[in-house]
């Protein structure tokens, strides 16, 4: 182990990561030393805020506060590990080799262990702000409730847990690359689909698992079921904290020691895996055993698409299915639907929420087409030049590029609305009106998204790639929000009822009004989209 080399490599990985997530700019904030200052501010500002709040809390609440602080101190270490693993799954594992892969250094004289420590340190540093904020917020609470003796071990164990999470991400990084290439090589198309399904499920499960009410439930289970949970090493820091709170210092020291040993074991495992998978295995994915070239794009169901549009649409679908960094975009609509519906459906008194639940379902035609169409240009990365140098008309590019947005949003809307009609019926006429307006909004927002994506694309491929600039994202979100509001408002007002007495006209007119407004906005959004695409194709 060479500390100087580890410091240099972790610093390089860290800077590389920060710049990649900020569009490749060398900014003041992409220096590790400046990040230390940011961490200090992340500690001091919440500290000041919590002190101010504490000044307003009456003395009577001290006992309740102490219970809350004890629970928080137990939860913070496990929260840190889980947060880093989740962030790792979402952001780290899809990184290109340009940011942090060992490919860039695997020919240098450094050991797998040195690489693993450097990479884990860099990851820990990226997420250290979270720990700094938690430390700042909890210190005044611990002081006020007389539990300062818990605060210090909790923060130390949390820092250890942060490193543990980062080391687990290193293991996942090695294993996922290996599994990916093995699955590809062994089973071609089937392997690719199963990997996509696995990734999407992973994202959905993780997102749902980190809903606040579920976390609270798990934490409750954890504090009451220590006897069962102690066999899981990842919760040893939390168990150490439980023993600190009960004053059992022997068991607290034991589990703290075990936590350190576990971190060392995970480090060793990560190093061994990195040693085995030091170099990516070259893979050649074969979809067909035949060596014959069979043109595909112009065959099959056209649905009003000319061969070029069909070829472009097919390319888009293939990108969504084959690129693992795009899997999260497929997971997002599922997460939106499940996480917005589940709490309402599971809440008591479900019989009274028919209308609100249908209104919540409108989030799909608002967000899903916007998201898929906004990223469709930027996700091309440097290969966008292929589109620009081919003889493609703007209308063809629009139809080809928007096919996945239309299909995915259309199917998702139809599925959710019909599913809800089955669970809590509101009548066929209402459902038809909602669906027709929703499809109109899907078209509008897809045009808005592509118009924005073509004007403000972000071709950087890397950690947290947005594929659309922040400006574009905000403009797209605002325009699509406004368009959705304009089109949906009449039909939703009619649907929720009570509008006749307020506005003085029949609800019968509201659906046609939505359609008329929708058609006008549709034309405007198409013009916006077409001009953006024309500009992209001629002024790259």
């Amino acid at each position: 182990m060479r500390p100087r080399l580890i410091a240099a490599l972790s610093s390089a990985l860290f800077k590389s990561y920060l710049r990649a997530s900020r569009g490749g700019r060398i900014s003041f904030f992409s220096k590790p030393r400046v990040m230390l200052l940011v961490d200090a501010a992340s500690f001091l500002i919440p500290l000041a805020f919590a002190l101010w709040i504490m000044g307003m809390v009456p003395e009577d609440y001290t006992a309740a506060l102490a219970t809350l602080v004890a629970k928080a101190m137990i939860g913070v270490p496990i929260l840190m590990t889980s947060a880093v693993i989740v962030a790792g799954l979402l952001f780290e594992l899809g990184q290109g080799s340009a940011i942090s892969s060992s490919e860039a250094v695997n020919w240098l004289p450094l050991t797998p262990g040195e690489y693993v420590v450097s990479s884990a340190l860099s990851t820990s540093f990226v997420y250290s702000e979270v720990l700094a904020i938690i430390a700042g917020l909890t210190l005044p609470l611990a002081l006020r409730s007389g539990l300062i003796s818990l605060w210090l071990p909790a923060m130390l164990l949390s820092a250890l847990s942060l490193m543990l999470g980062a080391l687990i991400v290193e293991i996942l990084r090695s294993v996922m690359n290996r599994v990916s290439s093995t699955v590809y090589r062994r089973s071609g198309r089937l392997g690719m689909v199963s990997r996509l399904v696995a990734l999407v499920l992973l994202f959905v499960v993780i997102q749902l698992a980190f809903q606040p009410y579920l976390l609270y439930y798990v934490l409750g289970q954890l504090t009451t079921g220590v006897e069962v949970f102690w066999i899981i090493p990842i919760v040893w820091p939390a168990i150490a904290m439980i023993n600190f709170t009960t004053g059992d210092l022997f068991r607290a020291a034991l589990f703290s020691g075990l936590s350190i040993v576990f971190v060392l074991v995970v480090y060793e495992a990560a190093s061994q895996l990195r040693r085995i998978y030091w170099s990516p295995v070259p893979i050649s994915i074969s979809y067909d055993s035949s060596a014959e070239y069979i043109p595909q794009a112009s065959s099959g169901l056209r649905l009003g698409y000319n061969p070029l549009e069909a070829a472009l649409a097919l390319k888009e679908f293939r990108a969504l299915l084959r690129r693992k960094e795009l899997a999260r975009f497929i997971a997002i609509p599922i997460v939106i639907v499940v996480s917005s519906m589940l709490p309402i459906l599971l809440s008591p008194g479900g019989g009274d929420i028919k209308e609100p639940i249908f209104v919540v379902s409108l989030i799909i035609p608002f967000l899903v087409p916007l998201m898929f169409s906004m990223i469709t240009i930027g996700q091309e990365g440097k290969s966008v030049i292929n589109l620009l140098t081919l003889p493609i008309k703007p209308s063809e590019l629009i139809k080809g590029k928007l096919a996945p947005a239309w299909l995915i949003s259309g199917v998702a809307t139809l599925g959710v609305v019909l599913g809800l009609e089955f669970i809590t019926p509101i009548g066929l006429i209402n459902v038809s009106e909602i669906l027709m307006t929703a499809f109109l909004v899907i078209l509008i927002n897809s045009f808005v998204g592509l118009g924005v994506g073509a004007r403000w694309p972000d071709y950087n491929v890397g950690a947290r790639s947005r594929y659309v600039s922040l400006t574009g994202f905000l403009i797209g979100f605002l325009l699509a929000g406004l368009a959705s509001l304009l089109v949906f408002t009449p039909v939703v007002l009619g649907f929720l009822g009570g509008v006749e007495s307020v506005l003085g006209f029949s609800t019968m007119l509201l659906f046609p009004l939505s359609l008329i407004v929708g058609c006008v906005v549709l034309v405007l959004s198409y013009v916006f989209c077409r001009r953006g695409v024309e500009n992209l194709l001629t002024n790259f």
């Binding site: 240099a8 390089a12 490749g24 060398i26 250094v105 020919w107 240098l108 890397g462």
Partner: protein, 253 residues
């Protein structure tokens, strides 16, 4: 004793036999051209020498160091330019070269002197503080070359090192290679431009499907067909690519 020695090395990827019982040695001061068609196993062979890919069988030594057992020690002796330089694109050239120099154990004074002069010679000194994501292919190649040369290696493994370089830089690199060979550095060099191989190399090994097809000095290779031929003619004959004219004629252009 050879600085690079491969004995009976084989490597398969699934059913594909990338390297097949390959024997190769490069003596001190020798510039060995490793030639072969696409997919013949050149890059895999180079990665095996670097210890980046583990062979299924056979042994590899670099300056007497067993690469399989001590890859890190072996890499300290080698300068490597990969076929596609994987650089940390969001670092500046200076930051990246600093990292590489630290890995090779160079002090900051050594890095400043050595990297500074290489940057200047390859006309990269004005770009040293730019983020590499904006670099052209040639600029990336120059950074990779500087990384390979900065620690005065005893062995150079260069996979298409002149890719993307402008004529002036290519000439400079060729001069550097000649100079280093004169100082006893062993150079294994792969290229598809046979004129370059002819001009630079004092030994050539042609491989096809992972095995050695021919080896010798450039003149010995040229004499293999029995009449005065160019290296390109001999290469095509040995690697089964001599019917190019017929293939083009068959195209309905």
């Amino acid at each position: 004793m050879a600085n690079i020695s491969l004995m009976d090395v084989s490597k398969s990827f699934g059913e594909l036999k990338a390297v097949n019982s390959l024997n190769l040695s490069v003596e001190p001061g020798e510039v060995m051209g490793l030639l072969g068609p696409n997919g013949s196993g050149k890059s895999t062979t180079m990665k095996i020498i670097m210890g980046v890919i583990k062979p299924d069988s056979g042994s590899v030594t670099v300056c007497g160091v067993d690469v399989g057992a001590h890859p890190v020690e072996a890499r300290k002796l080698i300068g490597y330019v990969p076929e596609t330089p994987f650089l940390y694109e969001y670092l500046s050239a200076a930051e990246y070269l600093d990292l590489v120099g630290t890995a090779y154990g160079l002090t900051s004074e050594e890095r400043r002197d050595r990297v500074g002069e290489l940057l200047q010679v390859l006309q990269m000194d004005t770009h040293v503080n730019e983020v590499m994501s904006g670099f052209s292919q040639g600029m990336r190649q120059k950074v990779a070359l500087i990384s390979a040369l900065m620690h005065r290696p005893k062995v150079l493994i260069l996979d298409e090192p002149l890719n993307g370089l402008d004529p002036r830089s290519a000439r400079i690199v060729k001069e550097i290679l000649h100079r280093l060979a004169g100082e006893g550095v062993s150079i294994l060099f792969s290229t598809h431009v046979l004129e370059i191989a002819d001009a630079i190399c004092n030994a050539i090994t042609i491989i096809g499907e992972g095995s050695v097809v021919a080896k010798g000095t450039p003149q010995e290779i040229k004499d293999m067909t029995g009449k005065s031929s160019s290296l390109e003619d001999v290469f095509l004959k040995l690697t089964g690519g001599e019917d190019t004219e017929k293939l083009v004629e068959a195209l309905r252009l």
